[in-house]
Structures are given as C-alpha cells and as structure tokens.
C-alpha cells in the first residue's frame, strides 16, 4: 500500500468515524435528554427497553423507519425531499474542523486525531457551514405548502440570521487571544494559557445563548412552537424524514457543543493528554456531555420566548454585548500584553 492510498484510506475512515460518532451521539443525546428532563420533572423517564432503558433510542429508530411516509399532494416534491438532508448534513460537516487530540499512534501509523485540526480558516469554515444550515428549515417550510410550516420556516430564518451575528462576533475574542483562525491553535493557546471561558466569561455566555438559538433549542425553539404553529416547519413531515429533522437538531446540538468546548473549555486539553494522546477524545467527549447537560437543563427550566422579544433580545441585547466583548478583549490583550 503506497502513501497516497494510505492517506486517502485514513481520511475516509476518519470521516466515517466522525459521522458514526455524531449519529451515536444523536441517539444517546435523545436518551440523555429524556432521562434528565424526567428527573427535572420528578419522573423516571424511559427505562423499559434494555438495562436502564439504554436500548430506547434503537427502539425509537426502528419505529420511525417503519412509519408511513406522507408527502402532501400540493408539496414541491423535490424540495420536500431535499430539506431534511440539507438540515442534517451541515450538522455533521461542522465536526470536520474540531480537533479530537494531537498525534497518536494507531497500529504503527502516526495519525492526527481529528479530520482537519489545523485548517487555517477553521472558524470561517464553521461560520459558513452554519450559514448553510438555515436552508433546510426554510425549504421545509416552503416546500410543505402549508401556512403553519411556512410561518415556522420564515420565523426560523429570521431567528437564525439574527443570532448568527452574535455568534459570529463571539468567535472573535478566542481568535484574538489565540492569534489564529485554526481550532488546533486555539486549543494550543488554551493549553499554554488558561481555558478561555475564564478570561472570556461574558463572551462564552453570549456564545452559548447564540448557539441555543442557532440550533433552535428551547427557550428559542420558535420554529416549532407547538401551541401557535402546530409543529412549525416540520408539520407535514413524517417517518424517516421527520427523524432526519430531529436528528439534525440533535447532531447540531452535539457538534456545536463540541465547538463550544473547543473554543472555551480547552477542547481535548486535560491532565496527561500530552503523554497519552488517546485521552484527548475522552476529555472532549466529557466536555460535550457537560454542555449537552446544560442545554437540557435550560430546556427543563425556561419557558419559550415570545417572538418579538426574541428578536429584540437578539438585536438589542446580545449583539451589543458581543460587540463590547470584542472591544474589551482587545483592551485586555493590549493592557496585559497577552
């Protein structure tokens, strides 16, 4: 096997592994959410399928596969099929730039843990992929040819565009501290200095809120808003197509948690990670689970925003705070000479 074939094989395998991690992550995020929410609401949650209900996601998946798929008569068929895919794919693709570790030995071959750790436009890559993610929801709303779905789709576009600004601005302070757009360098910067959520606490909070809005999580789950819009953009979807939307949301939660951990919680950094590189993925996973827990906790605690307040919050509070954070970080860097 020559070097090129080996390299292509390595990349294919790494890509497949990341995709599988995302999918397993999706399955067990739903389980995690249902169990955790149940505890918050003094219930028990799913505990029948398998030990502690661990097979519940599998059972749900099988159920969804066997459900009947309906396509509304007046729907735009092609866009209707395309929308769930467009929601799902960007969520996984984001993971491409998240570093899982440094170099490690794998059956006598030195591999880099992560697909493209040191891409010099890593942050821009995340921004561009998340900006594509909007289309799935808009298209779903339009293609269903249904008033409620349309309203849900338009709402979500407005929401995601608004919060993308705060999100984009909150990427800046970690970039400024690390002096690089590559996520690998940002993690390295945190290994040498501090985890960035300590010096950049306000930024990390703004970032987290913007992420919640970006993945349409409660209290920003406006596009769904059962009481007003039935189920928003996915009202007309059923069976596996509905499952894909569901998956898209949870995989996005998972991958944005990974991005948050990498930017603010040190990514794969942790004790002894220099000596044992395989600890990197484990640390990252632990941090992702903590972030997911926070998201679920917030869902269990806060009611949904009213739509006009949500927009007002995004434009009049979050965006100025994000801007001020950038200025403050610049001041901090020039005063302390970081």
């Amino acid at each position: 096997m020559n070097e090129t074939t080996g390299m292509i094989l390595e990349w294919v395998i790494k890509g497949a592994v990341v995709a599988v991690i995302c999918l397993i992550g999706f399955a067990y995020t739903t389980y995690y959410e249902r169990r955790f929410l149940a505890r918050i609401q003094v219930r028990i949650g799913p505990n029948r399928a398998g030990p502690w209900g661990l097979l519940q996601p599998v059972a749900d998946g099988i159920k969804l596969i066997f459900k009947e798929e309906l396509v509304p008569d007046k729907a735009y068929k092609f866009a209707f099929m395309l929308a769930p895919v467009l929601t799902m794919a960007p969520a996984i693709i984001v993971m491409g730039v998240v570093p899982w570790g440094t170099q490690a030995n794998f059956f006598g071959r030195t591999i880099e843990l992560g697909i493209s750790n040191n891409l010099n436009v890593g942050i821009l890559y995340i921004l561009s992929v998340t900006s594509i993610a909007v289309y799935g929801i808009v298209l779903a709303g339009w293609a269903s040819n249904n008033k409620y779905a349309m309203l849900g789709g338009l709402r979500s576009t407005a929401q995601m565009i608004s919060y993308e600004l705060a999100l984009g601005l909150s990427f800046l302070p970690p970039i400024m501290l690390a002096g690089s757009l590559s996520l690998g360098d940002i993690v390295k910067g945190q290994q040498d200095f501090l985890w960035y959520f300590i010096p950049l606490l306000p930024t990390s909070i703004v970032f987290f809120i913007a992420v919640l809005a970006e993945v349409n999580r409660s209290p920003f789950d406006m596009p769904e808003a059962e009481q007003e819009l039935v189920a928003g953009y996915h009202t007309e979807y059923s069976g596996m197509k509905f499952a894909l939307f569901f998956m898209g949301e949870y995989v996005k939660m998972f991958s944005m948690s990974a991005v948050f951990s990498t930017l603010f919680l040190g990514g794969f950094a942790g004790p002894f990670v220099e000596q044992v590189p395989w600890l990197g993925p484990v640390y990252l996973l632990i941090k992702i689970i903590i972030c997911l827990g926070l998201m679920i906790w917030i869902r269990g605690t806060l009611p949904r925003f009213r739509y006009d307040r949500l927009m007002k919050f995004g434009w009049k509070i979050l965006l100025p705070i994000a801007l001020i954070n950038v200025v403050l970080t610049a001041l901090m860097i020039s005063i302390f000479g970081l």
């Binding site: 092609f78 891409l119 436009v121 821009l124 561009s128 992929v129 594509i132 909007v134 289309y135 808009v138």
Partner: protein, 174 residues
C-alpha cells in the same frame, strides 16, 4: 489522469450545470437553490486555487447570507412561479455584446496567460487569512475604510427607509 484534473472536471460540470439550471428553471425558488449550489462549487474551486479565505467568505456571504435574503423575499412575495416575464427590448443586443466581451476575455486568459498573468503564478500563500489581513490593512487601507463607510451609509439608509414613523405616539407595551 491527474487527481486535480478529475476534481476540476467534476466541479466544472457541476458549476456550469447549476448555472444553466438557475437560468432555465421556471420556479424562482429552485433557481435560487441552483445559484447556491453554483456559489458553493465556485468556493471549492477557490480552495483548489489555494485561496481558502475567499472560498469560506464566498460561502458565508453569498451562499449563506445573501441567498437567504433572496429566498426570504421570493417566499414572502409568493413570487416563485411567475406566469410570463415581461420582455425588455434591449435585452438581446445587450446580451450579445456582453457575451462577446466575456468570450474575448476568456480567449485572452486561455491563450496569453503565460505572458499576461505571469506575475500571479509566483505568489504563494496569498490566500491565507494572515496574508490577506496584512495586505488589506497595509496596502489597501484606504479603499477598505471607504468600503466600510459606504456599507455603514447603506445600513443607515436601509434603517431610515424601513422605519415607519407612527402618527400617534401611543406606546405599545413591548
């Protein structure tokens, strides 16, 4: 065959195909989708040319932000299927002239690239974010600032136009 060439041919086919799809599709939403695909393909071409920064901004700004607004407008106006577009008299001659100009430019690029564009071939690492930042804030600082002011003026203009002045100053609970 060279791997780069294979990738290029696939991308070129997709790019031209999506451009044609945009032009020929009757449904405005599908046209917009084809345009997004076209922008994304061109972004990949930029990556192959060694300009990742431009590629990413292309996707974020054009395929992401601008096209979302396009789609938004198309959907809000319900203009996805227009019955018959009104014809513009000078459209055909203008199209012919512009087409000939584009063809001439292509011919120059293809046949004289060794002499005309020789200086570009020597640049390496010109597309990295650091390099672009350095050039932008040293050599092109004035145009950069002027663009910034233009954008600011446009933004303020948009706000002024969009803002409705209420006749009765009754403050609604917000």
């Amino acid at each position: 065959m060279d791997a780069n060439l294979i990738v290029f041919i696939i991308l070129a086919v997709v790019a031209v195909g999506s451009a044609l799809g945009m032009l020929l599709n009757k449904n405005a939403v599908y046209s917009a989708l084809f345009l997004i695909l076209n922008f994304a393909t061109v972004a990949v071409l930029y990556i192959i040319l060694g300009a990742p920064f431009i590629a990413m901004t292309q996707v974020t700004v054009y395929a992401g932000a601008i096209m979302v607004l396009f789609l938004f407008v198309i959907m809000l106006l319900g203009a996805e299927e227009l019955a018959g577009a009104t014809k513009i008299d000078w459209q055909k001659p203008a199209a012919v002239v512009l087409g000939v100009l584009l063809l001439a430019e292509l011919i120059v690029v293809i046949f004289f690239r060794e002499t005309v564009f020789a200086e570009f071939a020597e640049l390496t690492d010109f597309g990295s974010p650091a390099q672009i930042g350095r050039v932008l804030f040293n050599e092109y600082l004035l145009p950069f600032e002027i663009t910034a002011f233009l954008l600011l003026a446009a933004m303020i203009g948009a706000i002024v136009i969009a803002r409705r002045v209420r006749q009765s100053p009754s403050k609604r609970e917000s």
